[in-house]
Subunit: 280 residues, 2 copies
Amino acid sequence: MTTIRAACVQFSARADKSENVALMAPLVAEAAGRGADVVLLPEKWNAWMDGPGLRPLAERLDGGETVDAMAGWAREHGINLIGGSIAIAAEDESVHNVSIAFDRSGERVAAYTKIHLFDVDVGGFSYRESDGTAPGSELVTAELDGVTFGLTVCYDLRFPELYRALALDRGARILTIPSNFTLHTGMAHWEVLLRARAIENQAFVLATGQHGTPGGLDKPSYGHSMIVDPWGTVLAQAPDGDGVIVGDLDLTAQASIRERLPALLHSRADLYRTAHAAHT
Amino acid sequence: MTTIRAACVQFSARADKSENVALMAPLVAEAAGRGADVVLLPEKWNAWMDGPGLRPLAERLDGGETVDAMAGWAREHGINLIGGSIAIAAEDESVHNVSIAFDRSGERVAAYTKIHLFDVDVGGFSYRESDGTAPGSELVTAELDGVTFGLTVCYDLRFPELYRALALDRGARILTIPSNFTLHTGMAHWEVLLRARAIENQAFVLATGQHGTPGGLDKPSYGHSMIVDPWGTVLAQAPDGDGVIVGDLDLTAQASIRERLPALLHSRADLYRTAHAAHT
């Protein structure tokens, strides 16, 4: 396969989980109807909140209202589906923020637990994702239609080494970043960082955002879901509101960029190792 | 010192080295006259070419027409000067592409040898910097007025780990990127990558470019020298032509960003280590 049609679904989580699952179904169907080979949903699209209140809404990797629905959509439409992220119950009383990839048969092929939790103070709001959520510690890729996808979530975007490791060591050609970027940081950083990850890794970037004020809370989100190609060109961008954007990812053009501007081969990972890494 | 006034000099190297040194002197004087605490020159501004022909124009770190001129400008004007980069003779018959930092007394305080050499095919042109130039292998910072500068050169910009190591491990608060970016890649990548390096490292970025067709050769350069703050805002940008841009770097505002959005503290360098690094 030399071209992959990718779709990104932009969404704003309502307060009720079942309503979110019901509202997402026709959006995924629309993406499939437009010929998508792979569909990406946003971060925590089925239930947006931080804090211990998220635990009762968490599911299990092998089953739950949302997990079963996503597996069903993938199978029913015969599409690859990267389910944004949803809360998955951890061993203790916390949850993990997990991005699950399903293949065209609805089988779960990979699950990435968000490494970097959003504990910041920006735009007049305080965010403490680590209150009730436990971080992951493993890099994860998914093989879909024989192509390697690097799975990440939202705030991970600020850590370039993660994407370099996915592209350089794990062979990722497409990077997925389901998100709920804040309005304040999104205006200043979202497009720049997405395009930089695409350019420096010569990879496609699929990035979904929530918009509005997800979960019925008062914290505004940026939206602007995007599909970026390995030269940094924004192939598609979502207007405000729920909706689907589609882009065709030309893997042959990507290979040509990697050949003519062989920055990935020029990497000198032996030199950059940080003191932090050297100590662990 | 809580604010540093930085100046970036944009330039287009003429074919004659002595002419370039003579033309640069008034530009540095202009920057000093505008109150610059630190002045950055472009990459290989005194002699632009690749290949073995550069060797006869190379100088020694401790002396030469250009090195002596730069030290004199720093001392004469009482400014810190990061001399873009110039060719320095290597032990063998090759040269190094070296960025030299001088303090206000004209003393050389640091010298960084470009690690990543520009061997690429873009915009209809072929570049082979490694033909006659040998790469460096050391990360380098310079302490100027008690502030840590991370020194890099041009194509280094595509390697985010280098900047992360300078910011996270070496304490760099200001990143310098003297460049001669090509017109073709500059249009697509220059501003995006500069702003990303600033945002992800919460550092100031000083970036100088050559413009026109440096060295009397036919390969066009992008120019657009920029000063970017740690939030990713472009404080100043050069129009086409030789000239000086100035920006005030507010170190207190930088500290506030690093405190409110503590992404540098959230780095998990223990997890990203690449297979390449692990093998060396």
